[in-house]
Amino acid sequence: MTEVIATNQTILVVGGGISGLTAALEAAETGKQVVLVEKRPYVGGRVTQLYKYFPKLCYPTCGLEINQRRAKMNPNLTILTMAEVTDIQGEAGNYTASVKISPRYVNDNCTGCGDCAKAVSAEFDDEYNYGLGKRKGAYLPHRMAHPQRYVIDPAILGTEDAEKAKTACKAGAVDLDMQEETVSFKAGAVVWATGWQPYDANKIQPYGYDRFQNVITNVEFERMADPNGPTGGKIVRPSDGEVAKNIAFIQCAGSRDKNHLLHCSRICCMATLKQTHYVQEALGDEGKSTIYYIDIRAIDRFEDFYQTVRENPNVSFIKSKVASITQNRENSNPVLNGVDTEGYHRYANEHDLVVLAVGMQPSVDKSSFPVDIVINEEGFIEPATENGGIFAAGCSSDALDVNRAVQQATGAALRAIQVVNRVAGTEG
């Protein structure tokens, strides 16, 4: 049974992505008691699945290592993984949260040795790689996963794989009888940082993500470009495994569109500009990138990054929302149909691979939200006083890039601290 020691001076952080992790650490390093609740088996969220950051083209795991070290060493911080907040009652300075913890079937005796994974054989789509690769039924979600504890996929329960895993573990960490449990504890303030999910590309019917193998999403492309990813960093066509050289990037795939996401997701332009660097890095002058856009929205100070990409002769820009994608029956090449709106130039351009710059859909569901909270029509939590002691951090508040999300989360931590300090003040 999981024990959570908390008081109404404790700060509850919901979501352990870069925003939640930051808010939790900043508060904990200021001496506050923090409980972090994360749905996945590990913290770090979506940044763990990115190959590089714009504009420095540095590695997300580099900062993740520091943050995880901070987390490991800080006694003020409690992390609950595979956990979801199901209910919050009370008001600022005195909340009671209920948290559902799903069984991991591996307890904290786990040493991360990996014997269980070696013992089992069944394979499953690897969600960490957006299904581009496979993983075992006993697995460490990714190499730097924190906590460094393996997970048993419920799908192998009752199969002999489960028993194999259990017997393989010398630490006695595999506990197949682990049950789902619900714990409830107090909190003075809540930082809501449940982040975002990539917009479901299947819904963008004209682009045929569900029909054409060589149409993928930008988040999948991140995994593909990563040398430690499922393709070993090779940029390939799913249809035939051939190297993709002539790549199209379609901006606003789901964003700025009343049929999909009403808002501009802010990051997709910079993300695509960054991804043209991947193409250049992998293929040199062999690799050609074409960006189909409505407006290029490089982020203020990063505008010079856009300038450098513009100067790259291997990258071209077409001001056009692509109307539809069809497929060349002979070679499975996607054919992009549309009109370059600067002047009037129709095109039917054939590419090896299409990357849809899918938008950010906030992972905030008004219908299932545990408390009554002000959410705008795009689904982001408003900075409203009515929200009491609940503060949105990162992409729960707006479509933000990592840098802005962390910045915003740091501020959210302070706002939570303001509440618990008031409580401390009144309680002496």
Binding site: Q205, P206, G208, R211, S324, T326, Q327, R329
Partner: protein, 299 residues
């Protein structure tokens, strides 16, 4: 299956001796088999179709459909209006919705209707026949009715524009609706899931005025069907059927092709599969005869 009564709006081209009178016959047969009773809207008028815009203004066009809905509400109370023609369905449903959203427009339409002592309540659902098949009857029930499965027939499902957009059938995708493929499979034939001209416009509106433009589109539609090895093209839309079928000679002349592709209605597929003869299935209404269907119907 309990008998289903609907207020039926056939439309001009379904009248005897008109370009899709064959559809009318096949539809009737299909409905008999499925126990659907078609109560024609008395004295219905033309919907104005989309092309009407050049002549009639917005309100006059809406009023045309308003009259039909009003008549239906008066004579076939409580019955859904069902159309089989894409244009009729679209114009009528569009009118219903526009008059629903725009109070002034609704008032003005009623003022006009008042001239002939009609009143529009605008409470009647306006649906397409295939919605009834897909949503009310269902593919399983259709399968159950099949006596002569259309085995071995490869059929390209050509949905066209107006049956599909802007409303769509049963919330299906505009880009790749599959209900027609399901119908084709339900009657035992093979559909062509990758048929890429499925929702391509046939240029019907320009067939008379700018044939070279519309026939270029039709050419693409038929060519793709041949590329996929189709024996037939099936469609729910009378404009599509006529356009794609009757101009093939002219297209062959224009493009040097040798097209001779039968184009039939889903209702014809069904009545044949349900075991009805060529006449009931209106196969004699083909300009390019659907031999393969006739053979099955003849058996």
């Amino acid at each position: 299956m309990a008998k289903k009564e609907v207020s039926y709006y056939p439309g001009c081209s379904s009248q005897t001796g008109a370009s899709s009178s064959n559809m009318m016959r096949a539809t009737q047969t299909m409905c008999d088999e499925l126990d659907i009773q078609l109560n024609e809207i008395p004295d219905w008028n033309c919907c104005g179709a989309s092309i009407g815009y050049g002549g009639g203004g917005e309100l006059p066009r809406l009023t045309l459909s308003a009259r039909n809905i009003a008549l239906s509400e008066q004579h076939n109370p409580g019955q859904e209006i069902i159309a089989t023609c894409a244009a009729c369905w679209l114009s009528t449903r569009e009118a219903k919705e526009r008059l629903h959203e725009d109070a002034n427009m609704f008032r003005d339409a009623n003022t006009a209707l008042n001239e002939i002592n009609l009143k529009l309540n605008n409470q009647t659902p306006v649906r397409h026949m295939v919605e009834v098949l897909v949503e009310d009857i269902g593919f399983e029930a259709i399968k159950a009715k099949v006596k002569k499965p259309l085995e071995g027939l490869k059929i390209a499902s050509y949905v066209g524009c107006q049956t599909n957009r802007p409303f769509g059938i049963a919330e299906e995708s505009f880009e790749n609706p599959v209900y027609l493929d399901h119908i084709i499979e339900s009657v035992g034939a093979d559909s062509i899931p990758t048929y890429e001209k499925k929702v391509q416009c046939c240029g019907g509106a320009l067939a008379f005025s700018e044939p070279e433009k519309s026939q270029e589109m039709i050419h693409g539609i038929i060519e793709a069907a041949y590329d996929h090895g189709a024996d037939l093209i099936a469609t729910p839309c009378p404009l599509c059927q006529a356009n794609v079928e009757i101009y093939q000679d002219q297209i062959n002349a224009r493009f040097g092709s040798k097209f001779n592709m039968p184009v039939v209605y889903y209702s014809q597929l069904m009545s044949v599969a349900f075991g009805r003869n060529s006449k009931d299935s209106a196969l004699d209404g083909q300009i390019i005869r659907a031999k393969s269907l006739e053979d099955i119907a003849g058996k």
